[in-house]
């Protein structure tokens, strides 16, 4: 048959650009509590309706509803709120530290705090995390030292990574936090390998990996799902869909045609699409997937549907490519405010306690900041000796690196 029309190339374009008023009126949001919760031993295909649904627990009044309610006790919920607030206070100080020239670069996770904090709390402390650069909440929820994190950002004399890594590319074996790579997506199949090793050894620990919506386009994403499915590795494959990959909206990762959770379907893996700003939903979905992984039922793909409320990094200005104020209009709200409202509704939390806690945490971060700065900041020092740049390339230094270290003259 003759083709009557000339072919047209489709280039995705977000609906709104700077100057437009934020508008999410066409976003279809299932009611909180409406998504069914399959048994953790269900067949993967019996979860596949959930990849087009949205698991929500907290309703618009802050009440926990439906089968996904993890029914956490108030103390656990208050700890979750505290870790999220601490993450926010930490981000605030480090963002300002970059603005005042104490470091070169910083990345906040504003609006996405529930993802890392709730997931860290739902996992066991010995489970291994393969994060991206926006899961600082994992370290914070595992009570890792803020001073240690800041020393990395300042590349100072106490930086365990010896000034080798871009700020926020933390690494802590002790905290079960894998060294962050700036090459996006590489950690996703590595987590599968770690999980395969854990299963090979008959260990009890599982792995969890995070990737952004944009980076699901990378081949490594595909490899992770393939290897994870083939070897039924005990791993959680989390996609943080925060809508934006620097300036590219999620349409450039294929989000116009389907959901990211739906990637699970073709691999025969279970998939869950979760309100990423709902602490309880994130916790419950993580708990569900972890229980499956521990039962040798393999990986689960989880899409955490959220919004990157701040810039990509301190080198980015989102007002140049998306409507100003969009984050404040996000229909699923702010994770801190939502959990606060829930706790207030339960009668176990108040505005006064909330405000007092923010002051307390700000002071904790300030004290940590002062201590970290006493060990040096980027540009003003002190740093570790530059001669250490030749260490750890190999376990034992070969002749050519010894020679080059001598040539450096330190």
């Amino acid at each position: 048959m003759k083709n009557e029309l000339p072919l047209e190339l489709h280039i995705p374009e977000p609906k709104l650009r700077p100057g437009d008023a934020p508008d999410f009126s066409d976003m279809k949001l299932p009611a909180a509590g409406s998504a069914p919760r399959p048994d953790t031993h269900a067949q993967a295909r019996d979860t596949h309706h959930l990849v087009y649904d949205l698991i929500r627990v907290l309703d618009d009044d802050g009440k926990a509803v439906g089968p996904w309610n993890p029914k956490l006790d108030p103390e656990t919920l208050k700890r979750g709120l505290r870790y999220m607030l601490l993450t926010r206070a930490y981000d605030d100080r480090m963002q300002r530290a970059q603005r005042t020239g104490k470091t070169s670069f910083y990345m906040t996770c504003t609006g996405e705090e529930a993802v890392a904090v709730a997931q860290a709390m739902a996992l066991d402390r010995g489970d291994m995390c393969f994060p991206t650069y926006r899961q600082q909440g994992l370290l914070i929820a595992r009570d890792w030292s803020l001073v240690d994190m800041m020393c990395q950002i300042y590349s100072n004399s106490r930086d365990r990574l010896k000034g080798r890594q871009l700020p926020v590319m933390y690494s802590s074996k002790e905290a079960g936090f894998f060294s962050i790579s700036g090459n996006l997506g590489t950690q996703f199949p590595q987590a599968v390998g770690w999980a395969m090793a854990s299963a090979y050894k008959g260990d009890r620990h599982i792995a969890a990996a995070w990737i952004g919506d944009g980076s699901t386009s990378e081949g490594d994403f595909h490899h992770a799902l393939t290897f994870g499915a083939v070897y039924r590795a005990p791993v959680l494959l989390n996609i943080v869909n925060n809508q934006w990959a620097i300036s590219s909206f999620q349409g450039f990762a294929g989000g116009e045609l389907t959901t990211f959770a739906a990637r699970a379907v073709g691999f025969g893996l279970p998939g869950l699409r979760v309100d990423g700003n709902d602490f309880l939903a994130v916790y419950a979905a993580t708990q569900w997937a972890a229980e499956r992984a521990r039962a040798n039922l393999g990986p689960t793909v989880i899409e955490l549907f959220t919004y990157r409320a701040s810039a990509h990094s301190t080198s980015d200005d989102p007002d140049r490519y998306r409507p100003a104020g969009e984050g404040k209009c996000w229909p699923l709200g702010d994770p801190v405010e939502r959990l606060k409202r829930h706790l207030t509704g339960l009668g176990v939390w108040s505005d006064a306690e909330h405000d007092a806690q923010i002051l307390e945490l700000t002071e904790i971060v300030r004290t940590a900041g002062k201590e970290a700065e006493s060990y040096g900041t980027l540009g003003t020092g002190p740093t570790v000796s530059a001669s250490t740049m030749f260490d750890d390339v190999f376990k034992e230094m070969p002749w050519h690196l010894r020679q080059q270290r001598q040539q450096l003259g330190i």
């Binding site: 590319m169 060294s179 590595q190 770690w194 090793a197 050894k201 595909h222 750890d392 070969p398």
Partner: protein, 337 residues
């Protein structure tokens, strides 16, 4: 001691390490039940079970990535990339991840993986089964690159590579899997059994990485080679009637600079041979190092005999392959200079 070809020697190395260390795993495309397209892992799954020796999806990046994760856990994966020509999808995981993990984590996480891969030409494999990409990896800080030339070396070096706590690229010259090859493609194939280096101990032994071997002592000119080209170099020295000192580098990075420098200071001349393309090849690095360390001892320009700067052409294997005639000619020119 038993006579082994290189395939049997490599298999024996993996056998020994699977036996000795429960943290050693072997996986890759077709390596499990079938035993690999070149048979290097034949029988290992049957002996050690499919938990320890298994097939993988056809995804080189996924193979290396999962090996990096296993290494971070504490295992010692030995993975096969079926042909070196297929390794490019995995370069991000090798170059940006495996090679830098120790460094970027301040020594907390390491990637002690061994990447075995058949490489090089001489088998009419065309442009996707003949390449020699070693210089891509020797250029990377944090990777070791090893290339054996005999069954004895192949086993001892592979055991050392598996035991090494850093990532090792282990390229196997597939043209000499079954017998040494001196570049005379029109002559009958010689099996390894007739070569002294096919006498291989059945048990454990290692050849330390970073140590070259002088395979033919000589005084007139230093001839640097590795892999298949070691055998071509030996033939060329005989045919040119030049008393060349032939050095088999065995490990390209870290390089045994002392052996090279001592030889060139003695001979005053140096010819470098490799199958890989010339521009940006490892021969350029060798040439620069010899010049830096031996300038006042040199009596002739350093010469390189290499593959041409073209893709590997299927029908013109022997016009491409730097055979003994070209090497002998370079030796004569070095002596006349």
């Amino acid at each position: 001691m038993v006579a082994m070809n290189m395939i049997q020697a490599l298999r024996s190395a993996m056998d020994v390490m699977l036996e000795r260390d429960p943290d050693v795993l072997v996986f890759g495309e077709d390596v499990g039940f079938f035993g690999g397209v070149f048979r290097c892992t034949e029988g290992l799954q049957q002996k050690y079970g499919k938990r320890r020796v298994f097939d993988s999806p056809i995804a080189e990046a996924g193979i290396i990535a999962t090996a990096v994760g296993m290494g971070a856990y504490g295992l010692r994966p030995v993975v096969e990339i079926q042909f070196a020509d297929y390794i490019y999808p995995a370069t991000d995981q090798l170059i940006s991840e495996a090679a830098r993990l120790r460094y970027r984590s301040g020594g907390e996480f390491t990637a002690p993986l061994t990447v075995r891969s058949p490489y090089g030409g001489g088998i009419f494999g065309g442009q996707t089964h003949s390449q020699s990409p070693e210089a891509i990896f020797t250029h990377v800080a944090g990777l070791k690159t090893v290339i054996p030339s005999t069954p004895y070396d192949a086993k001892g070096l592979l055991i050392a590579a598996i035991e090494d706590d850093d990532p090792v690229i282990f390229f196997e010259p597939k043209r000499i899997y079954n017998g040494p090859f001196d570049g005379h493609h029109d002559r009958p194939v010689t099996p390894w059994a007739k070569h002294p280096a096919s006498e291989v101990p059945e048990g454990y032994y290692r050849i330390d990485l970073g140590k070259a071997a002088i395979v033919r002592p000589g005084d007139a000119v230093t001839l640097l080679a590795y892999g298949t080209m070691v055998h071509v170099a030996l033939a060329a020295a005989e045919e040119a009637g030049v008393d060349a000192e032939v050095i088999d580098l065995r490990t390209l990075n870290p390089l045994d600079i002392e052996t090279i420098v001592a030889s060139v200071r003695k001979t005053g001349r140096c010819v470098i041979v490799h199958e890989a393309t010339r521009t940006g090849g490892f021969g350029g690095e060798l040439s620069a190092l010899v010049q830096e360390h031996c300038f006042h001892h040199l009596e002739a320009p350093i010469a390189r005999v290499t593959g041409w700067d073209t893709p590997y052409p299927h029908a013109f294997e022997w016009e491409y392959f730097p055979g003994p005639k070209r090497v002998a000619e370079a030796l004569r020119q070095a002596m006349e200079a």
